[in-house]
Amino acid sequence: MSKTLYEKIWDGHVAAALPGGDTLLYIDRHLVHEVTSAQAFDGLRLHGRGVRRPDLTFATADHNVPTAGDRLHVEDLLSRTQITTLQRNCAEFGIEYYGMESDRQGIVHVIGPELGLTLPGQTIVCGDSHTSTHGAFGSLAFGIGTSEVEHVLATQTLRTTRSRTFAVEVEGALPVGVTAKDVILRVIRDIGAGGATGHVIEYRGSTIRSLDMAGRMTICNMSIEGGARAGLIAPDDTTFAYVAEGNRPFAPRGAALEAAIERWRTLVTDAGAAFDKTYRLDAAQLLPQVTWGTSPAMTTDVTGRVPQPDEVAFVNPQDVERAIAYMGLRAGQPIEEITVDVVFIGSCTNSRIEDLRAAARILEGRRVAAGVQVLVVPGSHQVQVAAEAEGLDRIFTAAGCEWRYAGCSMCLGMNPDQLRPQQRSASTSNRNFEGRQGPGGRTHLVSPEMAAAAAVAGHFVDVRAL
């Protein structure tokens, strides 16, 4: 019988089918960070339970870590406690932990692929909704809550039910200046913030095939912003070349890698397999995207305007009005007239070396506009080292940006990197919810190129005109 990629991975991971329709789905990689794990470890202790497979569990500190000053010193007491709690839990249960002092530290969704922990065909979970990022490798990866973290720690399985399938097909060559970020923002704009709820998306088509792994990760990362449980891209030679690259200590090598690639080639949706839903996008028509509101679906073209309240699909007019008011904008205002105070280049969506190179290409030989603060935050310690080896850090600092240490940083403002009330950002992250980057802060999501262009101009500009 023909199967979709999702169905193949699912069927390969059923450890037990339970009466009542639940499945115990076996988990190949469990990634852990400091914010959503402490209560799960407490639960284990409370019931006298252990971690079934500490060798398949990997932890890092990313959400709370400082990105400036002394990298090893966490000023905030609560943040510090959370990080040392993770460190202690990992030591107690025998889990590999990459703390601030480790050269493997970084945003959990950046280090998984980088270290070769993320491989095609796996099931991967983490107490974090952007776990969908790892789907770029053709692995079924999704976010779970803390109770589920505890369940996976104790059993190495997840008690769950099957999702429906959703094909997102993107065909054609991307116009110059249009990126993977613009593709996914456009998809979410078109399907709505809840459009893929209950579904796992498979991204397909020539546009997707032509993207590098960084671009594919950007797309899968934001699947959750359309409500999807996970996003998948079938692995191909681009994927295998990434896994085979340089320093990926947990990836198979030599004959083991050859054998793995043979198997991974079967990880495709069979011809004739049916999806529950399909959506098609013509890449040639795409323009750079900018969000104007407080949901990632509230997006328009850079050449567009802030909409009128009754012009937005899937959103009630009063919610549009509230979003426009919160953002300090007015209906009908051209996007390119919106000025920015802060530019944030980072987060698990866009903080890989390819993203930094893209931003650096725009910033090279230019200056950040007066009064604009620009934070460039690499996704991992390794990305930082690689960027410095290429001299990207010097391009950024010469342009007037701040070059930081790795972490989640201003993506969600759990560390000191926060917007002040009413400050406006151009951000390469994935969420523009009210207060996401700091209470009262106003976030516009864009690609790294568009963020860099806004930094130079002091307002949004069409990067294609630069």
């Binding site: 639940d22 076996y26 407490d42 776990t131 779970i144 809840g194 198979p252 919610d319």
Partner: protein, 206 residues
């Protein structure tokens, strides 16, 4: 886990769609390492601005007192996986949240829905008409019956009842207040058998 069989309570109306988890509980409150004390932090940055309560936000209104069922619009709980969102709502005193499915949008985001079940808290997805009637009536009492999978609005012009979706597995756990991990551990032999049979592309520890 706390059991949930049937609950009748007064509802509080929150006329918003896409209520995200950052609104329910802002990130800076996720630094705690225990599971208690989240109730008073619920909707912190929506219910107050610059330290001053926003008077017309539903949680600040007199009718919030004693309400146990929250009613909102589509796609409630979208955003992050933080279970803290469910802890905040249930510790505030809610036992269930009602939200309509409408257009392409579901009542609840997937992770929020799963997290709710694990905490004896019920996401109740209703039709748009059902939600509209509650909003039009300005509130009232609602009964959620998990055993029968029904939700009833007790409106001035009579009761309106409909069924709501809940997976069989989650329903059983909730009705009996079972320890899910304990039950899963009964399948440890199946898990071990799976581990022995499966193919794994070698974790190369360095």
């Amino acid at each position: 886990m706390e059991a949930f069989v049937r609950h009748r309570g007064r509802c509080l109306l929150l006329d918003r769609a896409n209520v995200d988890t950052d609104a329910i509980i802002p990130a800076r409150f996720l630094k705690k390492i225990d599971r208690v004390g989240f109730g008073e932090l619920l909707f912190m940055d929506v219910k107050q601005k610059d330290g001053v309560p926003v008077p017309d936000f539903p949680l600040n209104r007199p009718e919030a007192e004693g309400a146990t069922i929250l009613v909102a619009r589509q796609n409630f709980g979208c955003g992050s996986s933080r279970e803290h969102a469910v802890w905040a709502i249930s510790q505030w005193g809610f036992r269930a949240v009602v939200a309509p499915q409408g257009g392409t949008s579901p009542g609840f985001a997937d992770i929020f829905r799963n997290n709710s079940y694990k905490n004896g808290f019920l996401p109740v997805e209703v039709s748009e008409t059902f939600a509209d009637r509650l909003f039009a009536a300005g509130g009232g009492e609602v009964t959620v019956d998990l055993e029968k999978r029904t939700v009833t609005a007790h409106l001035p012009d009579g009761d309106v009842t409909e069924t709501f979706p809940v997976p069989d597995g989650a329903r059983r756990m909730l009705l009996e207040g079972l320890d899910e991990i304990g039950l899963s551990l009964h399948h440890v032999e199946a898990i071990t058998a799976y581990e022995q049979a499966r193919w794994e592309p070698g974790v190369m520890q360095v």
